[in-house]
Symmetry: C2
Subunit: 262 residues, 2 copies
């Protein structure tokens, strides 16, 4: 899905920005966020193929990685063994490619083929804007850049904004496209937030994140961090217990996200 999209934008507008967009989108990744959109949609018994719309959350995630890697931010020169976008294409193109990705994510969600009438699309796009904006993804990145130590609670608060907001928005995007009522929507949002924090802890465990200032592994140790991730996973799963069998893909995905090392 993303691959076809990359080919299309490159054909419509050949040039460094679309090359950089495709380069970043085609990087190997777990694609776990669009999977959450699809699984949440299915948990609501949504009808139709939500795959194309689900790419929106991966595009938002990718924009945030491209900008976070910039020299003025985390100054990372490689990501998953490949040069980061600003190393491969220059800093100006990296800023612009990130910008274009963020705009493209909204186009994908509002304009893409698939289920969800205009009202559901608007509701889903609002969630995405909220997760991508100053209160969540961006606010969390500022916290992370300025982080100079703190206890487990302070670290989880950064995780909640920087990582969990977009995971939660992926879940609610799927739920909104599937026409979730207020009750299931609120439960799925809480599921997404708890799971998102657990997911970040799992990431830090895999990356041996004990040299990162903002990592629970540093504060609680690997075993303490693992226990906290498991507790968050359990509370997330409890939120969606009453969704029954149709939510089974969502549960499998949640366990995989938090226990990838098994």
């Amino acid at each position: 899905m993303l691959d076809a999209w990359c080919t299309r934008i490159g054909e419509v507008e050949p040039g460094p920005v679309t090359e950089a967009m495709a380069y970043s989108l085609r990087a190997p990744g777990k694609r776990i966020r669009p999977a959450f959109v699809v699984a949440a949609f299915e948990a609501l018994d949504g009808e139709g193929d939500v795959g194309e719309l689900a790419t929106a959350v991966e595009i938002v995630h990718t924009y945030s990685l491209v900008h976070d890697d910039l020299p003025c931010m985390d100054d990372d020169r490689t990501r998953r063994g490949r040069p980061t976008v600003h190393v491969a294409f220059g800093e100006a193109v990296a800023v612009l490619a990130g910008d274009a990705l963020l705009a493209a994510a909204f186009a994908a969600l509002l304009d893409g083929a698939g289920p969800g009438d205009a009202g559901r699309r608007v509701a889903a796009a609002r969630d995405l804007a909220g997760a991508a904006g100053s209160l969540a993804l961006v606010g969390g990145q500022v916290d992370d850049l300025r982080f100079s130590g703190g206890d487990a609670e302070a670290i989880e608060s950064v995780h909640a904004r920087k990582s969990a907001a977009l995971i939660a928005a992926s879940v609610t995007t799927g739920a909104r496209l599937g026409g979730a009522g207020a009750g299931p929507l609120a439960r799925l949002a809480r599921f997404g937030r708890a799971l998102g924090v657990a997911f970040q802890i799992a990431d830090d465990l895999l990356d041996a994140g004990d040299d990162e200032a903002c990592s629970l592994v540093r504060v609680l140790g690997p075993e303490g961090a693992r226990a906290r991730a498991d507790a968050l996973l359990a509370s997330a799963l409890a939120e969606i217990e009453e969704l029954g069998l149709r939510a089974e893909p969502l549960r499998v995905l949640a366990r995989y996200a938090v226990r990838r090392d098994e």
Copy 2:
């Protein structure tokens, strides 16, 4: 409208990013893009107050200025006599504030109080995503950064993407919120594109843009550039002639945008 919005985001999320967002949004400016939304909405006899939704296009414009000023782009240290955002707040905050502004623009258009059912909001937000994305604003900025000379046609092609696309999207956003049919919508889009190029030429005339590589003033001289802007204004006005009296605010605004020096 924008001022109240800045106050609100600062209260919800105090910190450097929302401060930088408010700093850039509160800079003195013509606010001509939201005025085009309102005038186009009125030209369609749209009912209701579209003012809050119209802020979305000013927020997109502001995000593009913040990122264009960055050291890796145009490297501007002042804008309208004030330090640019990265000079005042640092480069990382400037990147993040621009990102948050772009996300906030979609939230403003999709979530704001005012007329336009979900279908109209989706259509307007698509136009905005198109104008902010790789094909227009961002593509035009790449062209501009790489511009190494060319004839009037090449320069107008950059203007069409970098400047005119968002002016055109402002016009079509107002038209879509007002429920324009396909015919008037196409005419208003052509009006917006011609006017946007004329607006950029007028800007270059005011800034004495003859030292800019990508300026019609350099290639045609001030008188030739003025004649071209006037011809574009006339062709823009011809597009909306049949909209009658209700389009008069749109015409006044168009003339003001292109002949600000009078």
